[in-house]
């Protein structure tokens, strides 16, 4: 009985929650100019693939944008995990002088809005000759300390006894990190991977600044460039966002499996 109530409430909330996105999908199948009607049309009449067809005509460059986004998002995500996890481990478990300061120092990087650093950053990337390159897109995003902070908090939640047992057995710090901490951190690592991937995928300001050649646009910049300058083409915008959102949704579903896998702390009776 209680379970049934739970499912119904959850479904109602889910329905309300999903309505705006359903609307986005429906609008993408409407004719441009007929997107706002009175009374409201829940089923597009006429049902039109016009927006998708328009986008398909530009397919070659759009595929290139998709590719750029995929490359930068994937590489960034991978590199972020590789450099953030050890740093997080150092800040959560290893004891060394200046650790507290280093943590505050790392956290502070989250507190400055991007608008403040965008110009100095561009000047620097320009001087390094990395404008219009993948590295130019990726490097600044690697410096964001979000992953370090998230992983640090999760590492602190892992019982110290597990590591201490391994160290007593003679494991080096690196092996403790690699063989014990990492396997237990599946959900946290997946979370960081998802956020980094999505953040990079949807990033607009930096790719806009760093890429002057159409070939180097990412999907978010490219799709924005397709918009008319004087009026918002609603159907096209919705169709474009359906196209842009689908890959990440798929990526989430893949990463999401890791979040389901619970951590079974066998071998340690609390």
């Amino acid at each position: 009985m209680k379970f049934w109530l739970f499912m119904v409430s959850l479904s109602i909330i889910a329905l309300i929650f999903i309505t705006p996105m359903v609307w986005m999908l429906i609008t993408s199948f409407k004719l441009e100019g007929r997107t706002i009607t009175f009374p409201i049309q829940w089923i597009p009449r006429p049902f039109s693939l016009q927006s998708y067809r328009n986008l398909f005509e530009r397919a070659p460059i759009i595929i290139r944008w998709l590719f750029n986004s995929l490359v930068t998002s994937s590489l960034t995500t991978l590199l972020v995990i590789v450099i953030d996890a050890p740093a997080a481990y150092a800040l959560s478990r290893l004891r060394f002088a200046g650790r507290n300061f280093l943590f505050i120092f790392t956290l502070a990087g989250l507190m400055v809005p991007f608008q403040v650093i965008v110009i100095p950053l561009y000047l620097m990337i320009n001087k390094l000759g990395l404008v219009n390159t993948y590295m130019g897109l990726i490097l600044p995003r690697l410096a964001i300390p979000l992953g370090v902070f998230i992983l640090r908090q999760f590492f602190m939640g892992i019982p110290v006894e597990l590591e201490e047992a391994a160290i007593l057995d003679g494991c080096s710090r690196f092996r403790v990190f690699y063989n014990i901490i990492l396997p237990l951190s599946g959900p946290a690592l997946s979370a960081v991977a998802i956020f980094t991937f999505i953040g990079t995928w949807n990033d607009f300001l930096w790719p806009l600044i760093i890429a002057s050649r159409e070939k180097m646009f990412t999907l978010s910049v490219g799709l924005a460039s397709l918009q008319g300058t004087y009026q918002v083409k609603y159907a096209m915008l919705m169709a474009a966002s359906v196209i842009a959102s689908t890959p990440i949704l798929i990526a989430f579903i893949i990463f999401q499996k890791r979040i389901i896998q619970g951590v079974t702390m066998t071998g340690l009776k609390e």
């Binding site: 600044p140 990190f177 959900p187």
Partner: protein, 304 residues
């Protein structure tokens, strides 16, 4: 302790210190080069007057003095504080509640998780556009059904001075709840099932389990979510800029928007940098408060 064990002790402490620095190094290098250095360059500008075309002029505390009597600055700060103060508790509670609900094992769990997270994958222009339409007073979806079912006058969601900021808060909650849900879910996964079983055997009910097992175990995660949430809320910009441009009458203009306007519309780079620095200090202050609240020992290093 004789001299041999002292040396061994010192050497292992040294090893740990070296490991510490080595583990941090790869990230540290990138961080220093591509974030810290630009931040310094950017914030140093706060002591100058620079309109991009001419060379910067040093003016010391000039920008800060102007800021103190700038009414737009104070209004923007107030709006930002309101936004943060209202949206943060809501996002924490909703995020946690949804995560607990989505942690229950049932068929379709994966589907529901994907559903509640799906809004987070949308880009900001899409979110703003969808909700601009939803909030439209005459033709928008919300007022369409609101007037038909409840027969009230259609509220002006984005143009009414009392409603505007709250409308933005609703959009933000809808958009970003998924982020908190994912983090809380990951935190819930870390809690051993055995704890709940033992509690059940001892006769504890659902609420007691939550209060005495779930919440304490989520200590580090809650701190994480709260800190991130506050930092992110203080930096809100996109939704407001696209949906209301700070209106009506500057009632939704947030601090980052004012910084942006000063930098890229008025070309007052130094002034913008000074405000960014003040914003940074405010965030630092609230973050340290949170660490003290949720993890009273040294920077939350409980147990180590």
């Amino acid at each position: 302790m004789n001299i041999k064990t002292t040396v061994k002790y010192r050497r292992s402490r040294l090893n740990e210190a070296i490991s510490g620095y080595l583990f941090y190094l790869p990230f540290g290098v990138v961080y220093l080069a591509f974030l810290v250095y630009p931040i310094f360059r950017g914030l140093l500008l706060s002591f100058y007057k620079w309109n991009v075309l001419e060379t910067p002029i040093f003016i010391g505390w000039g920008n800060y003095r102007v800021m103190a009597s700038d009414s737009t600055f104070w209004l923007s700060l107030k709006n930002t504080l309101y936004f943060t103060g209202v949206s943060t508790p809501l996002l924490i509670v909703i995020g946690l509640a949804m995560a607990v609900a989505l942690n229950v094992k049932f068929r379709g769990q994966q589907f529901f998780r994907a559903l509640f997270f799906s809004t987070y994958v949308l880009s900001i222009s899409v979110v703003a556009t969808i909700w601009l339409w939803l909030y439209q007073p005459q033709f928008g979806l919300i007022n369409y059904y609101l007037t038909r079912i409840f027969h009230i006058a259609p509220p002006s969601w984005l143009a009414d001075t009392h409603l505007a900021m709250n409308s933005i808060i609703i959009v933000t909650i809808w958009w970003t709840a998924g982020f908190n849900i994912v983090l809380f879910l990951a935190g819930l996964q870390e809690i051993p099932q055995s704890l709940y079983e033992a509690a059940r055997i001892d006769g504890a009910g659902g609420w007691q389990s939550f209060w005495y097992i779930t919440l304490p175990s989520l200590r580090y995660t809650i701190l994480l979510v709260v800190v991130l949430q506050v930092i992110a809320s203080f930096q809100i910009f996109g939704q407001v800029y696209i949906m209301t441009q700070g209106g009506p009458y500057g009632r939704t203009r947030v601090l980052v928007q004012y910084i942006y306007e000063n930098a890229f519309n008025y070309f007052k780079m130094g002034y913008a940098a000074a405000m960014a620095f003040v914003l940074f200090l405010i965030m630092a202050f609230f973050s340290s408060l949170q660490f003290r609240l949720f993890a009273p020992t040294k920077l939350g290093k409980k147990g180590k």
